[in-house]
Amino acid sequence: MSYFIIIISAIFVNNVVLAQFLGICPFLGVSKKISTGIGMTGAVTFVMVIATIFTYFIQKLVLVPFGITYLQTISFILVIASLVQLVEIVLKKVSPPLYQALGVFLPLITTNCAILGVAIMTVSKNYNLVEAVVFSAATAIGFGVALVSFAGIREQLDLVDLPKGMQGAPIALVIAGILALAFMGFAGLV
């Protein structure tokens, strides 16, 4: 039951983009088309789950036993940056079709603050390994739900005649705000 609550909470109630403001850059950057949105979601899910597992072990086996938790930020970002490179190399070798689909998005992920944010949140919420994996996967799905629905709206938006000042980023932000308003309807669900 508690896993179910973690999932619902991470996807809808505390949506990573619309309620916690993590991963806004890719949310605004790659949301022009639904297909790229789906690709980005795949890459984020992949890296987020792996990164959370790695940082979980680093926290439990290295940082805490040696009493150097103040190095958390530095070690996590290094692990994530090198992990993204590693995932890219391994994917290229092991599964070329998957690399074809996700490849272009991987370098962008290092600067996606949702990855580091989820890694730190997992530690501060004291999740065990299974909970951490469920939480990170659900967060990534929440990111995907927000990104794909936003991309769908933006595809329609191209056809709309807007005042000059509102074109581009401003209207995208206002739309994101309305989407966030809709997601607020989930508040109190858990």
Partner: protein, 194 residues
């Protein structure tokens, strides 16, 4: 290079938020009040200035291939310092900014300036550039924070302007951040054209 121009470009012409759309996560995440916005802006400014300083000093010793990880490491060091200083001296602000302090590491603004400016210019202009961009960022965060605080709870920097009951609560919550920033950028775009 004209140092005054170098300093002032961060405020309007190349403002991180209004023109470049860099560093959006903290921009939206912490600006529920003017005070939080200012605190976050100053913390980022410190990291930006120090990272620019160190990067421009060591730029000749770092091999080109590993420069990005090296820059990230330098930035992460200063973020950790800021984290510890804030936890010690301004614990209340540290609590309310929370997760977003370690996340200064992945603020594209900081890495962007290290890569685009400090790795190509001398120490003095890099410091000036960091200070200008950082303070421009802080100014934008404070503006957004003030707007949200005034509209949402009728206060600015904690000083009451009108009774809270008349405030539009949505501006303090998540959707208000997106909407307020959207209209703020639209307004600035409009002013630039005029």
């Amino acid at each position: 290079m004209n140092q005054w121009k170098n300093f002032s470009k961060g405020f309007f012409k190349e403002n991180a938020i209004f023109s470049l759309l860099l560093g959006m996560c903290p921009t939206l995440g912490v600006t529920s009040s003017a005070e939080n916005g200012l605190g976050m802006g100053l913390a980022t400014t410190f990291v930006l200035v120090m990272a620019n300083l160190v990067v421009s000093v060591v730029k000749d010793f770092i091999p080109d291939k590993v420069r990005i990880p090296a820059f990230i490491l330098i930035i992460a060091t200063f973020v950790t310092i800021v984290e510890m200083i804030m936890q010690a001296y301004v614990p209340a602000l540290f609590e309310s900014l929370g997760l977003f302090i370690p996340l200064i590491v992945v603020n594209c603004l900081v890495l962007g300036r290290a890569e685009a400016f400090a790795s190509k210019n001398n120490v003095f202009s890099s410091i000036i550039d960091g200070a200008g961009m950082g303070l421009g960022f802080a100014m934008a965060l404070t503006m957004l924070g003030s707007i949200r605080e005034i509209l949402g709870s009728g206060k600015i920097f904690g000083i009451t302007l009108y009774p809270e009951d008349y405030g539009m609560l949505v501006f303090v919550l998540a959707p208000g951040a997106f909407i307020a920033l959207g209209y703020l950028i639209a307004l600035i775009n409009r002013l630039k054209k005029a």
